[in-house]
Point group: C2
Chain length 525, copies 2
Amino acid sequence: MEDKAQIQEAIKSQGEVVRKLKSEKANRKQIDEEVAKLLALKAQLGGDDGKHQFVLKTAKGTRDYNPKQMAIRERVFSAIVGCFKRHGAETIDTPVFELKETLTGKYGEDSKLIYDLKDQGGELLSLRYDLTVPFARYLAMNKITNIKRYHIAKVYRRDNPAMTRGRYREFYQCDFDIAGQYDAMIPDAECLKIVHEILSQLDLGDFCIKVNDRRILDGMFAVCGVPDDKFRTICSTVDKMDKMPWEDVKNEMVKEKGLSEEAADRIGHYVSMQGGKDLAERLLQDQALSHSQQACAGLADMKLLFSYLQLFQVTDKVVFDLSLARGLDYYTGIIYEAVLTQAGGAPAAEEGVGVGSVAGGGRYDGLVGMFDPKGRKVPCVGVSIGIERIFSIMEQKAEASAERVRTTEVQVLVAAAQKNLLEERLKLAAALWDAGIKAEVMYKKNPKLLSQLQHCEESGIPLVAILGERELKDGVVKLRVVSTREEVDVSRADLIGEIRKRTSEAETIRPAQPLTLQGSSSRPL
Amino acid sequence: MEDKAQIQEAIKSQGEVVRKLKSEKANRKQIDEEVAKLLALKAQLGGDDGKHQFVLKTAKGTRDYNPKQMAIRERVFSAIVGCFKRHGAETIDTPVFELKETLTGKYGEDSKLIYDLKDQGGELLSLRYDLTVPFARYLAMNKITNIKRYHIAKVYRRDNPAMTRGRYREFYQCDFDIAGQYDAMIPDAECLKIVHEILSQLDLGDFCIKVNDRRILDGMFAVCGVPDDKFRTICSTVDKMDKMPWEDVKNEMVKEKGLSEEAADRIGHYVSMQGGKDLAERLLQDQALSHSQQACAGLADMKLLFSYLQLFQVTDKVVFDLSLARGLDYYTGIIYEAVLTQAGGAPAAEEGVGVGSVAGGGRYDGLVGMFDPKGRKVPCVGVSIGIERIFSIMEQKAEASAERVRTTEVQVLVAAAQKNLLEERLKLAAALWDAGIKAEVMYKKNPKLLSQLQHCEESGIPLVAILGERELKDGVVKLRVVSTREEVDVSRADLIGEIRKRTSEAETIRPAQPLTLQGSSSRPL
């Protein structure tokens, strides 16, 4: 801890900073941040009692997961990992920070949201912003040209958090990617199949997967008369079409970004289009678009994609939508985004959580080459599941259904009916643990039987193995079923088998199990 | 990216820094770090071709996990989590960074190893240094007074990495802790039982769990005549006894830390002692120690601990060792450390990896109170499994045994014997996925049958479902067992059942399964 006078000095100058910002009417966020620093300094100094007062909180935009949230999180991860493994994916892990230069130049304007580490001597480091760039770095560094991998890990963005809607500064990404030189659209179609499987299985309500292609967008911009150097910025305006009416989008293009009104109207004509394979076929005949080689290549691939999606029987949820743009710089081909279109099991009032984007991705054939000293490319396509929003929805569903979420898997509590049986309880518990039974004892010398039974009720433990003078004398244990209050004497020799038998049913519905696959095996081969 | 001239300027001034350090004969580490910065700058500038050259590496002291390492990692985690769950633990998660002040004053001298984030406006943040302090912050913040939880997550220390020995700057911790006001030594004994179970189950070779108590150490220092203000520093010297001979330890106490020779000799008398319950009993009779209330309390608890450990049948591996000190400031009672005493299955030449500390922990009754505004204490005891060293050992064992580690769980490859069957392959794969079968197809329109079979050999896929003109006509699939090359025709209707039947055996030995519990159920009740 720094010395008191030093802190007081710091408080004084920080106070000046805040006053100055306020007098300059600086933006709210900046003032808030400086005030937070001031309060932190004051807290460091402590109150009248001279004790250091801590600000008891997690960092802005982050949260702890309590055991109940963890149980839900494990359930969701288990379903998603199950799907990735079903499709033959391996998994890798990369460090939470990368050399700063590894992230430089990959995220366009969003680079300002990257967390840097303090220069404490040595390399300059940043926290990873996504899992895609570290994946590309990993491939280039290890000269890997073929891999199908998933990676579930936390990423970091100094964004404005909207935590009630599941938007954090620290959040999980759940990525599945296929790297390698393959025939067109086969891995791309599998990525969409995976999104379809996961969203169906998690039962989040109705959803829709929008697809488009960077080449179609770029070709469209070209034939609409957008100057080359405005492709990116116009693209990011198009990306807002799901949030604003066309008039506002057009306004931004024309007034803010200096596009001609005619060009904007031509764009407006295309971006209102939605369809399937038929739309791709129709646009291949489009007079203007057919002048763009890029657009034609994208449209031909879109047609092919839909033919594969038909084989996968997922076209019911997939829409070719020319207004889908997606922000990231590195996409080169197909792009997609899955959105929830109706609040699944969640209460209608919470509309903000139950709808919106829950998965996204696309093809990025150039990214690995950016890391290779000789620029060798490794074509990649992948998808990222928006797991935080899914957690929020699942939590709300659990709340709403008043579902009892168990946070442990304990099968049996070893209890005593009388005093002075601690040693016997510990001996029995050890024997159960060594036999692989999930068991607890209460950490009191002489707990009351009632409080032991209450503990079982509260944490959902199905069985109690009760020891008493009589049971010890007879060489038995009284096994009690918590839910029915039924009690039977079981000999010591039979106890483990009896516990296994009685909890094997419960096992199949324990929280860590994957959700059942919707419609599994119902389709004829 | 910064502009060229700017970078050249930076290279020039960084060159000056390096030259100056070298001329001053600064320490090696400092020079290395500055040279690294210089090289990074030069790399940024790129070679003659004007392209940006990236330094393709992970940050110092960190590593990627490839799929094989991940498979081993999952196996180890599964065994450890299985044990934690067997003992009824819940799990929580906390953010990777905390407010800087949360970590301040918790780690003594080691605080200099904490990674700070750059001040980018807003709160001052640091990467977590362990999982114990965030756990205490979590308990205080949520006013939790009782919990048994495990937490497996990465922590960060700017230490000098020794990666071949499994020491990294980013590494996993695997913590199990019991918080709550309970009767003496019951939870403490369970922590030791857990260490015993995990190390037995992982089959890492012989091990020994040393135990001691902070109160015994402090009492011993007092009766040996160590001044109060020297307890900590003398304690950290005692901690080196497993690495240096007593003469050197004594030298450090007397010459460096200014302890009297007599006091050092008295300490030497005690710290050479090892034993079990008997030693605790003997020391309770010790003339000098009996003057210390603290020591007596510690010794009485040590006696009690051993009586519980006897019930758990783990005393064969536990040694009361008065030289065990452990560095962290926050311990208040029992402390322990598990060490491997023989290189398990690892080759003898790799002695550095197979031996040494693999778990440690103790009681810290004051830490939560440091976070509570009113100083309310929550007694805690816990253990941290040294998972990185365990990974290293398991990896070496896998290498040495030439064990084939599967990195996917694919049950069947959907293959074609002729050309133009892509559509049929995709249709069949989708049907298998929807039935929950783990299946792959190759992403080529017309892959050769041989290359499809080779893929199975390489990645250990046990079955191939082969489609051909004949099979399609007959409504069957040719199911090939990769290991035996046996082939049978299976009707479409029976295919899923047949695949499930033929892979259910393989399931039980797949890598993700927990290792079998050593000696499970062999002990009579």
